[in-house]
């Protein structure tokens, strides 16, 4: 039986790789239309970031928030909630974190940094929790509510960094850049390599991934959440308070996205800027799916997506294609992964594919 499971995993991996290749081939057509050589483009995209310290460190800078968001997404999807609200949750998390970092009485970093993370977690949890509460107790579709709450969060965030929380200096000098004051240097996340932006956020994210893994698979709370996600009727039958666990799932999902906000303000920007969420709330969903909705699987998945983002940036400069082509290719990759899931999860598909392969190789 162990051998069978290995076969299954090889099949799953094969299907994912195959669909990725198909996506890249379609993407190649887009490059040709845009007048670029697809082979050079892909070569730059996948290898350029790995050729110097700058590329590698940048990869991890992107991977850290992606991983944190993906952890939250894994929890919520496993609990049967499709949380599309990562963006909003990151922003509200960032607001809460900024509030503590800028306005709370200044204390030693060993107190302040955890406090800022807790505040960001609470902010994200609040934002996720609204959607979770509406889903559990009012039966409001969570896809709709989370997407809509993204817009609300963006407007509140922009209002705050352009208004009440705007940098006093910007106002004084009249330059008017919409950003908050800088966070005291003492609270910044440690730089791991001198001269590069890479910070300890990735380490925090990996520790969180391990904690989430233990939480989901080794505690009774995780057991209940997975049960609610897999079969709500059987969960009720087993005496689980399904409404509370739906809410809890969204509190945690939002909380982890909020932590991604904290990582961005403390590790990268050191202040609140516009579009600080940078699409991580959406890419995090893909990272979570790519990692098989497993917290440990999300670790390599986040690094791969970090590579994709950095690589896409470099490719854009190297082969001179419009940024939109890059976005289209990222979209294609997402579609490929999601559709390869059909082949992996649908019963009977595997047998069909294996049969087809046998026929093609003439062994059938």
């Amino acid at each position: 039986m162990k051998k069978n499971r290995l076969h299954e995993q090889m099949y799953n991996l094969g299907m994912t790789t195959f669909s990725l290749v198909v996506a890249l081939m379609i993407g190649a057509v887009l490059f040709v239309i845009a007048g670029a050589n697809p082979i050079t483009a892909y070569w730059v995209m996948f290898t350029a970031p790995l050729q110097d310290i700058f590329g590698i460190t940048e990869m991890f800078v992107r991977a850290a928030p992606l991983l944190l968001v993906a952890l939250g997404i894994s929890i919520s999807f496993r609990s049967g909630i499709l949380n599309i609200g990562g963006e909003g949750q990151i922003l509200v998390g960032a607001i809460f974190g900024l509030f503590i970092a800028l306005y709370a009485p200044q204390m030693h970093w060993s107190v302040m940094v955890p406090l800022i993370f807790v505040a960001s977690f609470a902010g994200g949890a609040l934002w996720g929790g609204i959607a979770g509460w509406m889903r559990a107790y009012l039966n409001v579709n969570e896809i709709l509510s989370t997407v809509m709450l993204n817009y609300v969060a963006i407007q509140i965030y922009n209002f705050l960094i352009r208004g009440p929380m705007m940098d006093k200096q910007e106002i004084a000098y009249g330059t008017g850049a919409s950003q908050t004051a800088r966070i005291a240097r003492e609270y910044w996340l440690t730089k791991l390599i001198p001269g590069a932006r890479m910070h300890s956020g990735m380490i925090i994210a990996i520790i969180m991934a391990v904690i989430v893994f233990f939480f989901l698979w080794k505690t009774i709370y995780g057991y209940r959440m997975r049960a609610v996600g897999a079969e709500i009727k059987a969960s009720r039958y087993a005496g689980i308070n399904t409404k509370w666990y739906l809410l809890l799932a969204m509190l945690l999902a939002g909380g982890f996205a909020g932590m991604a906000g904290a990582v961005e303000i403390l590790g990268v920007h050191h202040r609140g800027l516009e579009s600080i969420s940078a699409g991580y709330g959406f890419s995090g969903i893909v990272v979570a799916l790519f990692g098989g909705l497993h917290p440990l699987g999300a670790i390599p998945a986040s690094v791969v997506f970090g590579l994709l983002i950095v690589g896409a940036d470099m490719m854009q400069r190297a082969v001179q294609v419009p940024a939109y082509v890059i976005l289209a290719i990222q979209g294609l990759i997402i579609l490929a992964i999601v559709s390869s899931n059909v082949f992996i999860t649908k019963k009977g598909m595997r047998a069909k594919v294996i049969n087809l392969l046998k026929k093609m190789t003439g062994r059938g």
């Binding site: 069978n4 505690t219 057991y223 049960a227 897999a230």
Partner: protein, 508 residues
């Protein structure tokens, strides 16, 4: 219209799946106007064989001959053109369309644009007249009972010109009365020239309806001949490959001590109408109380109010002297009421969870399975291994998901979990529906063992035989009320049947 099928033959049909020989050189023949019963336990290869005939699978070896001609059936559409129709166990009907619209769905219209519903209505009327199948073409599917929906499926198949009908376990969802009606209908259809293949593992029906019987076991044909040559017991032995006898309750002194008392309970159904209407019932220690009734008369609601899964509007549920009305499901689990629900795949188990995880579905929060909120993996594995061995559950290992087990083994997982909790009261709803004889035998003997262990069992079933074999008393439920409670040894099928239809015998 398809040509009349005078004779259909299977020659050496073999079908392999990875690791399984599903059909091994099957030879079979059906003539016009004949009813063939295909018998076999779950996984014996009945459905595979029929899917080969219906064009869903291709045989690896062998051929199918229609009227002596070698035919290749590669799609269900081709099968339809040849005059082969299939009625699946789970109906393929759209609930919010009418009967005629459902029939039109599968017909190939002459015009690509215009939907000629009048023509469809004509066809339906013709067919219902010639086969004596009563149905209103304008009724919506959701308004129809299960038995009526099955008739729509039959009409659908016939309107496509089918003259060989395959029925996959057609009686699994029917009440005894509906089953009798169906058997009569099938006999009439056969008399008017249809050939019928009837898949079942219910021996009484097979005896009643078929001319010929073919018994499959592990993909092999073990008997093929006239139905009259064997008694039901002999057929059961052929099917299982061993002597099999469903256990029957032995007389036992039922204690007078009442453990569960339901007093004048009312509760709403899913559609907001009153499903339980002043129902009262009491259950003593060490007895099996059977609940007989046509489904939809409040059975599932009754099970749900006992288990805290449905709100009681008025009245009381008392367990062992304690009022447990409207307690949460968890509180009721803690008071040791066991529940084997009707929906074993979605309610009794979390299908995507492993056997191991399903075994602890109700006790995961208790020591030693978990300590200080942490699940104790080793203890849980040992616990699950123990149950798998004790209840002889056929699973590759305890990490296999429940969804990939057979129906009988999923039910064994549920029964093992519930019985092992030593419940004070065990509520079992349709516990053997869709199970083969071997698995049913297992469930029955476990229920009897629970009774002999002085536990109280509330057995809700539609199969009178099951109720009469196992119960100490039988209560008949009708429109949310208990019409009458009869000691099982005095119960008669005819009387129960009338009560189930709501007819009270006035002379007593």
């Amino acid at each position: 219209m398809a040509k009349q099928i005078e004779r259909i033959e299977f020659k050496d049909i073999t079908k392999r799946f990875p690791g399984v020989l599903a059909c091994d050189k099957i030879n079979l023949q059906v003539n016009r106007g004949e009813i063939l019963a295909l018998l076999g336990e779950n996984g014996a290869g009945k459905t595979t064989l029929m899917n080969v005939l219906y064009g869903l699978y291709q045989p690896d070896e062998g051929e199918i001959l229609i009227n002596g001609e070698n035919i290749c059936i590669d799609t269900p559409q081709k099968a339809g053109e040849l005059g082969i129709g299939m009625v699946h166990q789970h109906f393929m009907l759209v609930p919010n369309l009418t009967v005629k619209e459902n029939v039109a769905l599968c017909m190939f219209n002459n015009s690509a644009i215009k939907l000629d519903l009048d023509l469809v209505t004509e066809t339906i009327k013709e067919i219902s007249a010639s086969h004596n199948i009563k149905i209103d073409p304008d009724a919506y599917i959701w308004e129809l009972s299960v038995g009526e929906q099955q008739r729509v499926e039959l009409i659908k198949a016939l309107s496509l010109g089918a003259n060989l009908l395959i029925l996959d376990e057609p009686t699994a969802v029917l009440t005894p009365q509906e089953t009798d009606k169906l058997i009569l209908l099938l006999q009439e259809m056969a008399a008017s020239g249809c050939s019928i293949i009837f898949i079942s593992h219910k021996l009484n029906e097979v005896k009643a309806v078929s001319h010929h019987v073919a018994v499959l076991r592990n993909g092999r044909m073990v008997y093929n001949g006239s139905t009259d040559d064997h008694t039901t017991d002999e057929l059961a032995t052929l099917m299982a490959g061993r002597d099999i006898a469903l256990p029957v309750a032995k007389e036992k002194m039922v204690s007078e001590e009442i453990i569960l008392n339901i007093q004048n309970v009312t509760a709403l159904g899913d559609r907001g109408t009153e499903a339980l209407d002043g129902l009262s019932l009491s259950l003593s220690k060490g007895e099996i109380l059977g609940i007989a009734g046509v489904s939809g008369n409040g059975q599932s609601e009754l099970a749900e109010i006992i288990n805290g899964l449905r709100k009681v509007q008025s009245g009381k549920v008392v367990l062992d002297g304690e009022d447990i009305t409207n307690r949460t499901p968890q509180q009721i689990i803690d008071r040791r009421i066991g529940y084997i629900p009707a929906d074993r795949l979605h309610e009794g188990t979390v299908a995507a969870f492993s056997v191991k995880e399903n075994m602890i579905l109700k006790d995961y929060a208790q020591a030693p399975l978990s300590r200080a909120t942490f699940l104790m993996d080793k203890t849980i594995s040992n616990y699950a291994e123990g149950l798998v061995a004790k209840f002889d559950i056929k699973t590759p290992d305890i990490d296999t998901t429940c969804a990939s087990l057979s129906g009988g083994n999923i039910q064994k997982v549920i029964v093992a979990r519930e019985i092992n909790r030593n419940p004070k009261v065990l509520v079992a709803v349709y516990p053997t529906r869709g199970l083969d004889m071997g698995a049913a035998e297992f469930v029955h003997s476990e229920l009897l063992a629970a009774r002999d262990n002085n536990e109280a069992v509330l057995l809700i079933s539609e199969e009178l035989e099951e109720l009469m074999n196992l119960s100490d008393r039988i209560a008949v439920i009708y429109e949310g009320k208990i019409l009458k409670v009869i000691p099982a040894k005095e119960a008669q099928k005819s009387e129960l049947g009338l009560l189930m239809a709501g007819v009270q015998n006035e002379k007593e």
